[in-house]
Symmetry: none
Subunit: 401 residues, 2 copies
């Protein structure tokens, strides 16, 4: 049995408060000099937390598995990401605050450029401006389908979301995005017999959309992918008796937080605005998830110095963050994004857990991937990090007599 089921059973509400600071994609691998952006950064505050607390490394999904942002965050929130899968369509919909309902079928779409033969020339339609996207989405909203409601929403640039609402819909529809150029978009196809009617409706939508977009110079076609419906995820309130708060700038992470029942407040305007938003909203919450995107962006760009600089800036802000009283502080990542790979990776994420007088204070004196190897937390599945934090916060009752 997964020990997280015992964690659920033993969870109790208390006044103690946990900060979960997630530096997206923070984990890295050493360069030729043996350094990572985290190890090379000047970060006296993070190092102090590591010194006073304990450290370890965590696998978001499992050894060798590179997680997307969805699985990485579910694990951070105490869920087994292999059990709760969230499709791209749902992630995009919740990420733009679309009020997705149970049974809705959502898909992510890209505007794309088609040539005269209907072959894909550019899968992202030259990354049209978001304003241009809004103009086209307004036209696509004219499409009507029999027996279902159709929602077409702008995400950003060439990206958008299609949602169908009605009885008996199925999300088991194959992508129409062939993931390459020089070929036609794939036909809409049901993956299971129950999805035949939904597939027929989506095919009608695509065909009408195609007529509307014909003649557009850039966004002359649509590619759909990631059809999915809202998964049934028990909330963090139900599972862990927490009153969780989300402070995040980017829509996807706000959407993920909402999926597990967090209260999502105003997005901070950049790193420096995070302490203000946190301090303003933290009352009444005993768990605060703070998301910092910029470490991941720098990793994706393969930019060692910028990733290091984000760590340093975050470190400077840390005293302000901690001004809101926290009994337990966790600093970690949803996955690694090594500069050398310029993409998400499978390497376990470093983590520090700070909780004076409650935590096993190990001999780790700085926060880095290598230092975490010798940390008292060892190497564990990431969902167990929440269990350690809950325990340190006194939120888990003794199991058994």
């Amino acid at each position: 049995m997964d020990p997280m089921q015992v964690v659920e059973r033993q969870a109790q509400q208390t006044d103690s408060r946990i900060l979960l600071l997630v530096m997206d994609g923070l984990g890295d691998i050493p360069n030729a000099q043996g350094q990572t952006p985290l190890s090379a950064a000047r970060k006296p505050n993070l190092d102090r937390l590591a010194r006073e607390g304990c450290c370890g490394r965590f696998d978001p999904v499992g050894p060798g598995i590179t997680p997307g942002s969805g699985p990485g965050h579910l694990a951070l929130f105490g869920y087994d990401p292999a059990q709760y899968e969230i499709g791209r369509g749902v992630l995009s919909a919740v990420g733009i605050d679309f009020p997705l309902q149970a049974g809705d079928v959502a898909a992510r779409f890209n505007f794309c450029t088609l040539d005269a033969q209907g072959h894909i020339v550019d899968r992202r339609a030259g990354r049209i401006p978001t304003e241009e996207n809004r103009r086209l989405v307004a036209k696509l909203r004219e499409v009507q389908l029999p027996g279902v409601q159709v929602f077409v929403e702008t995400e950003s640039e060439h990206r958008g979301v299609l949602v169908l609402r009605g009885e008996g819909l199925s999300p088991r529809i194959a992508d129409t995005d062939p993931q390459k150029t020089g070929v036609r978009p794939l036909p809409v196809r049901a993956l299971v017999p129950e999805a035949e009617r939904t597939a027929a409706l989506v095919a009608q939508f695509v065909s009408q959309a195609q007529r509307i977009l014909a003649g557009e110079p850039q966004a002359s076609g649509l590619l759909l992918r990631g059809f999915d419906s809202l998964p049934r995820i028990p909330s963090m309130q139900e599972r862990f008796r927490l009153r969780p708060l989300c402070v995040a700038t980017y829509p996807m992470y706000r959407g993920l937080a909402r999926l597990v029942g967090m209260e999502v407040v105003e997005p901070p305007e950049g790193l420096a605005d995070i302490p203000r938003v946190l301090t303003r909203h933290v009352e009444g919450h005993d768990f605060a998830f703070v998301h910092v995107k910029y470490t991941d962006k720098a990793g994706e760009d393969g930019d060692f110095e910028r990733k290091k600089a984000v760590v340093e800036e975050m470190d400077r802000l840390l005293p302000e963050l901690l001004a809101a009283r926290f009994d337990v502080v966790v600093v970690t990542a949803d996955h690694s994004t090594p500069v050398a790979l310029a993409s998400h990776s499978w390497h376990p994420v470093p983590a520090l857990l700070w909780a004076p007088g409650r935590v096993f204070a190990d001999d780790v004196v700085e926060f880095s991937e290598k230092a975490c190897i010798a940390g008292a937390l060892g190497r564990l599945p990431l969902r167990f990090l929440l269990a350690e934090a809950l325990a340190c916060a006194g939120k888990l009752a003794k199991f058994g007599a």
Copy 2:
């Protein structure tokens, strides 16, 4: 959910190539001087791989569990050995290249020496020569049973294999080997009602065999054990989209490799012949399993110096092995065979994972059990080592959006 299910789903075929070098029973425990055969060996090439790569320790089945060769190798190949059990009879049959079919019931037998009262004097019949075994097996092939085909096969020395083929057979038959001398062989007994008919057939075989062997000076009786049928094991091709090659001298390991779908090629004639066989057959494969038996033999004999010498000889051969291009190299064991115990043990096996630019290069600078404690891989179930290798080889797609 077991993360290996996610690994299966995300597996993708690529041209990159993995070497899995298994030094059977390599793991050991420190002697009074704090040394193991591995730590004491001069092995500059293995040390270089450990220095450039990362290290860790792996439990073949689970903490405290001493694995046989079957479970140890299944774990190396990415399978949960507790989920797929392989009986001794099946192992022996596939180990001699017997074309075992679904539904066949196979058992391992020993020739034994019985006294005039039918009591066992020697459970191994004085380890008769294999040629003598062949002569007796030819006589046993005269045995006929109603409604089933009977196959009697020589394994080596006193060891052989019995296979029954027919409809409705069951392998749930108890061993007739009492595992001690001075008593009679146990009667053939069904473990479940469905096996009654099979037990009756086996009893007929034993009784006829007994008549044939009566009067033989050494091999005057038969002891049967490990009745089993072929398990349904999905192949490594199906699970991980690999095209795996097996280079192994000993039948059992060749048989295990065949069970998971590996292409098994000519057996090397001793250690020094391995590079030739590997180089000759590796084309067209993206995964090569190389098995070295002699470390285990030395461990079983309690011979520290010989076990150390095998490591040193393997180390000298390593450059030749690596001459076939490999992107990822794993060196590890199927289980520990400590010299001090002179038998398989439950201690986790040391492992090194080498994959330039992809692996987390830790601070381990030599390949030894102790050094591996501080390695970046930590301590994990052995099946996850394949996941780490697949990831380093770029063979696992990102999981989730």
